[in-house]
Symmetry: C2
Subunit: 367 residues, 2 copies
């Protein structure tokens, strides 16, 4: 990336066939996805859950930390962690996925965190609903957005900033939207936002602001970098683009058999195999999961576990029986929700966002 690109506020697009650069590699080495065999866990252990941090993981001292709630409110609030934890608490099983998941499978590749398929995880998040706090603070009747600011600080395309995102008021007021201090029954790990983060079920990860320091009520749409410049679906750089919001449907297969270390190609023994995986959507209920063992030419329906009414924003497990005979196969899985289905060809956009292209897994079945 040249300084010029940087200061134009545009992400670079890789040349056709260009390998991943050291800048992308440095991001891939510090952030990490969920190894797909971890689809076996209903709740992802914290160290296997995907992590993306834009800047550094900040060192926040929980005892002196406070959350400030201000902006267009009648009574600004300043709350310690203990005060937040003494409020009514909720534990909710919620899937999170990075909006950049699938970016490195786009051609040409937008240069940023180079996710393939694995930027996902499901955890039990414990916190307190945000809406009653906003009501106590006394929202302006003119409120449009609620702006969440984290303690993480850095530069992005020339703009120095604390990470901050605006969320439409209606989303902030949903009863499922939580201020969260625990993950899987333990205090939030540093990389997941300790001491307090936001969880907005159904939305991609950019909305799930970590290391929260401020919540500001705004009577104008928030125009900060992470809303106005980043996280917008656009093909040409001069478009405004549509903001990225809710998670598109996706199904992932836990790759069967065993891998080659370097190529990650899969091998398995012939015989009956139960293929299994998880499917989700943040925008509408999943209605079916298709599985193909011949690259999509023929498809069958997976047996999809019933939706858990207590966890509408978690993933759902699925199973598909396959009598694997010796040979080479391309496994494919595709989720459909009440709005639509995963594409079989990628829909390119220049920031590499929300690419829910179907997963294809080549396997070799041995005698």
């Amino acid at each position: 990336m040249t300084a010029t690109d940087n200061y134009r506020g545009m992400a670079r697009i890789a040349e056709p066939g260009e390998g991943v650069g050291l800048d992308e590699l440095a991001l891939a080495a510090r952030n990490h996805g969920m190894p797909l065999e971890a689809l076996r866990y209903d709740v992802t252990p914290p160290g296997l859950h995907y992590v993306l941090t834009h800047y550094d993981i900040p060192a926040v001292e929980p005892t002196s930390w406070r959350l400030e709630i201000g902006g267009a409110v009648e009574r600004p609030l300043s709350l310690s962690l203990g005060e937040l934890q003494s409020r009514p608490s909720v534990t909710s099983r919620v899937l999170l996925e990075c909006a950049g998941n699938g970016r490195a499978r786009l051609e040409p590749r937008p240069v940023s965190q180079p996710w393939l398929l694995e930027a996902v995880g499901t955890a039990e998040w414990t916190g307190t609903p945000l809406a009653p706090l906003l009501e106590e603070a006394g929202l302006s009747s003119e409120t449009v957005d609620v702006v969440f600011t984290g303690a993480d600080h850095g530069v992005e395309r020339g703009v120095e900033q604390d990470y901050a995102r605006g969320l439409p008021l209606a989303e902030a007021m949903r009863p499922e939207t939580l201020l969260v201090w625990a993950m899987n029954g333990a205090p939030l790990p540093p990389q997941h936002g300790a001491p307090l983060r936001l969880v907005v079920p159904g939305w991609y990860g950019m909305a799930q602001v970590k290391w929260l320091t401020r919540v500001d009520v705004a009577t104008e749409p928030f125009t900060g970098f992470q809303n106005a410049t980043a996280y917008r679906l656009k093909v040409d750089s001069d478009e405004d683009g549509e903001p990225v919001t809710r998670i598109r449907p996706r199904s992932l297969l836990a790759p069967p058999g065993w891998p080659d270390f370097m190529t990650r190609e899969r091998y398995l023994r012939s015989g009956p195999v139960t293929l299994s995986g998880r499917a989700w959507s943040g925008r509408a209920p999943v209605t079916q999961v298709e599985v193909s063992t011949d690259g999509g030419n023929s498809r069958g329906l997976a047996e999809l576990a019933p939706a858990d009414p207590a966890a509408p924003f978690a993933w759902r497990s699925w199973r598909f029986g396959w009598d694997a005979r010796p040979g080479r196969y391309q496994l494919l899985t595709r989720a459909t929700d009440e709005v639509g289905r995963q594409p079989v060809e990628a829909e390119w956009n220049r920031q590499g966002l929300a690419n829910n292209l179907v997963q294809r897994v080549p396997v070799t079945v041995q005698e």
Copy 2:
């Protein structure tokens, strides 16, 4: 990588200037390093500790799992996790580092897991010493190696295998060598080897076998893939090469200031700054840490925390005061142990192992 390379048992070397490929990226997305700001923690939280798994993270059922101790012993043993946990236990603070740390900084780049600098972490490991168990089993007087086999299964350069490593008897009998079931006071997470792993303080990660199933006493040197083919320092493919054993000295700086998201370049404000980091060596005590702010032209000695006699295989913290004036700088840090010091030019080898080249951190100091 072509199938031919694969079956010759040789790792591929990237062409000059060749970017990271999708195979390397798939490894980087599932394994992860320790973000360098996590050098601030004396003990690395599990999800920030580096992870490398050759194959898949296996699903091991701890209640039915047993450890078999056999081979050239008089009385083979079969032990449940409860039986192991009822033995004398030790908690030990130990640094682990992947032997491939630094691989992606070599030119040309050996194609494998593309670590830059961050494949490291320090944890509190709880387990029971191995030596008394081997003595109870009754070692053959002809014993040469002790072979550790994990439940992780895959293919590597054409060889299907359970991950297995031989360790010289003298190392297996060291009182510090532990069979470990807990990390930082909690049961081992899946990715760190649950329910039981080996910890051999001072050695690179390939010796720290995870998901242990068998310990076999051998009267001949172990010639399995991970000893005879992998983890050997060699320049030409027809050399036997020297086996990789203990961790070479390294010092890492927690990069000061804040990063650019994409380039990871660092910025800080002018004024007094305390640079800090960690240094370690698995082969001999660290004797000094040098810091330079001008790319190595001039150097000063960091203030190195005293060695903790209870934790000789942990890292040690260091500090270095710097009056940062506006401008661009290259920070550099270098550790010296009783045997030698980190190189300022990389010593290339074809598997990209044990590259402890000094770290260089470009920073821009602003008014």
